[in-house]
Symmetry: C2
Subunit: 223 residues, 2 copies
């Protein structure tokens, strides 16, 4: 039964849930795209400033005027390009997802085995966190602003992860086991290690973290 779900689409019912329970947040908030070059540049200035400010101090304490001041534009300019503060956060989350996905993809394409990919991926992830400490503030706080975009963020990562694990399993490279459960377990590991060693402690050498972690999932705790 669980195996059947796993084969079809283990996340289908999660997406359903979202749409059913949260119709508001699912509606895409659209402002017409900038028509000119100047407009596009201004929009990007605001988005970048929002990323910096929210990443530094958090979404709820950052005001629109903080963002526009940091961007060097007037208050009203914000509303030419975004519906609301929530709107800009949504976009930041999607952007962070794209950037991180790219970074991880770059880091793992050279990997010979699945376990190598895990090692390189985890290392690249914590490095990314150290380089972009705003990631957590943006993504984690989005949960309380627009749950749909938060879920989608992680479900997209989970889908990619699951596919990679299933491919490795098909090649006989790793043991059999629910790819969905493994994907979430491994994401959780990465997120917590990223918080602990990427945000809170940036002194510990990452080999001392990645080694034991990959060992844990590679060989287990059996003595």
């Amino acid at each position: 039964m669980a195996a059947i779900i796993d084969r079809i689409d283990p996340q289908a019912q999660l997406y359903d849930d979202l749409v059913i329970s949260d119709p508001m947040t699912a509606r895409s908030q659209t402002k017409p795209q900038p028509k000119t070059d100047r407009g596009e540049r201004t929009r990007q200035k605001i988005l970048a400033a929002a990323g910096r400010e929210i990443g530094k101090r958090g979404f709820s304490v950052t005001s629109i005027s903080d963002i526009t001041a940091a961007a060097g534009v007037g208050q009203g300019t914000f509303y030419i390009y975004f519906q609301s503060k929530e709107d800009v956060l949504r976009e930041l989350v999607l952007q962070m997802g794209r950037e991180l996905r790219q970074h991880l993809s770059d880091a793992t394409t050279g990997a010979k085995t699945r376990l190598d990919a895990e090692r390189e991926g985890l290392l690249a992830f914590i490095e990314f966190v150290r380089a972009n400490p705003g990631l957590y503030r943006i993504v984690e706080e989005s949960q309380f602003v627009d749950e749909a975009v938060y879920r989608r963020y992680y479900m997209d990562f989970a889908a990619t992860y699951r596919a990679a694990l299933q491919a490795a399993e098909a090649r006989g490279e790793i043991s059999r086991g629910s790819a969905e459960v493994r994907a979430w377990a491994l994401m959780g590991m990465a997120v917590f290690l990223g918080q602990r060693y990427g945000l809170w402690d940036v002194a510990t050498p990452l080999e001392d973290v990645v080694g034991p972690a990959v060992d844990l999932i590679g060989r287990g705790m059996q003595p």
Copy 2:
């Protein structure tokens, strides 16, 4: 070097960080304890209502008047017992930590081996999440309200976890490896699986989750 830190107190510098960077939030906000029985009951009514409301809708969107209305008391009554909304959240986080710790401790005391304890603990954790879905809203949002209490929450769990792993390692029950890294990796696993299968999907039987997860950390992914 990492091994030395591990042996002394791997979290020491994290606590330091907190105190240095966040002196405000570390200051304990004290309101005199209720002097009478009636006072204590009212305080508890407010705390319980706050837990319900914040757990259901989130901290930032819940107003003091939401809380007092749910508690069935006047607005001003809130300020007899709490300094602010932040104050009540701090207390809720600590309380959640105590309850969860108790629940996990009850669930794992019968375990014969460390891996059994992992299995029972993970099962109990996700069951706790299903029974107390407000846990995540309260604990995770506390990160954006009072980072000190959030860190302490997880660092306390990490300390307990680390001790258990070190004891098991000393007994030769599990392989050698950084207890600190393992503790954070395992917490992350639990939190993410709790979110995926405790909050977002309450239909999947927990054996289908706990089995594969414990297998992953017990035997690893080696084919």
